[in-house]
Amino acid sequence: MQAAADIPAAAASRRTEVLDGLKITLPFMVGAAPFGVIFGALATSSPVNLSPFETMALSLFVFSGSAQFVAIALMAVMTPAWVIWLVTVILNLRHTLYAATLVGYVRHLSFGWRFILSAGLTDETFAAMEDRYRRLGVHRNSHWAYLASIVAMHINWNCWTLIGIAVGSQMSGLDGLGLEFAAIATFIGMVVQKLRTPGAQTAAAVAGILATLLAALPYKAGLTIATLVAIAVAVMVERRIEARRSQA
C-alpha cells in the first residue's frame, strides 16, 4: 500500500471523484432501499412500537442494517440492554476487519477525515471502496469518492427509513415480497467479479460452507468465524501455490 509521499499529485478533481463515488454506490443504494422501508415499518408497529424519533435515531446514529433489525427484534421481547449491546458487538465485529483492510488507503488523511470515513463505514461502502482502491489505487482526491459513498448511503438509508415509518402498518405484507434480495444481489455482483484467483475462490468456498454449517450459532456468530477461517485458508492456499511455483 502507498504512503502519503507516493500519492500522485496529478489526480482527478474533487467533483469527478464525488461523482464516481456516487456512481459506484448507486447499486448498493437500490439494494438497501427495501430494507430501509421494512425497518421503518417494523420498528414503529406492534410488537416493537418504537417512536418515530427512536426509529430515526437508530438509522441516523447506529447506521447498521443488520444490527438494527436484530435490535428491534430483541426489544420486542424485552431483552436486557446488555444482551442487545453484546449482539451488536458480535454482529459488527466485521467492521474492525473492514477498517484493517482499508487503513492503508487513508493513512495520509487528517484525523477529522479518518474519523468521518471510519464512523460512516458500512458493508456497502466497504465493498464499493475496497474494489475502487484496488482498481485505481490512492490518489490525492480519492477520499472524496469515499465520503460521497458514505453520505449517499446515509441519506438513502434514512430517507427510506422515514418512508417506512410513514407507510407503517399499512404495508404489513412488504417483507414477504422478496424485496430483500436486492441487497444480496449487490453482494453477489461484487463477489462474482472477484473470483478470478485461486485465493479468492478458496476464500469464497470456505466462507460459504462454514457460514452454512455454523448458521445455527446465535446472533450470526458464524458469520465472523466463517470469515476469519476463510481468510486463513485462502492465505495458506496462496502460499502453497507460490511455493510450488518457486520450486518449478
Binding site: A57, S64, I188, T227
Partner: protein, 107 residues
Amino acid sequence: MSAGVVILGMALINLVLRCPLFLVANRIRIPGIVEKALAHCPVAVLTAIIVPFALHLDQAPDGSQWLNPDLFATIAAIAASLITRNLMATIAIGLSVALLLRYLAVF
C-alpha cells in the same frame, strides 16, 4: 431500560468497532502477511452473508427451507453477473427472479 439508552449504547459500540484503527492509522503499519490476508476479506464476508441467505438459514437453521425462491434468485444473479459483468443488471435480474417466484408461489 429505555430504548434511548439501548440506542445510545449501540451507537457508541459501532463507533468503537469502526474507528480506532483509522484514528491511529498514521502510527501503524500493517505487516505484509496481514495485508495479504485482508485482501480476502471482502469475498469471505460477502460470501458468508450470501450463502446462508440463499438457503434461508436465518429462518430455518436446520436447512429445511433450502429449496426457496431466493436460492434460484441467487443462481440467476450469479449467472447475470458472469454474463453481463454489470452490478445493476445483476440486481435487476436477481430481484426479478426473487419477486416472480414468490408471486407465482412456486414453492
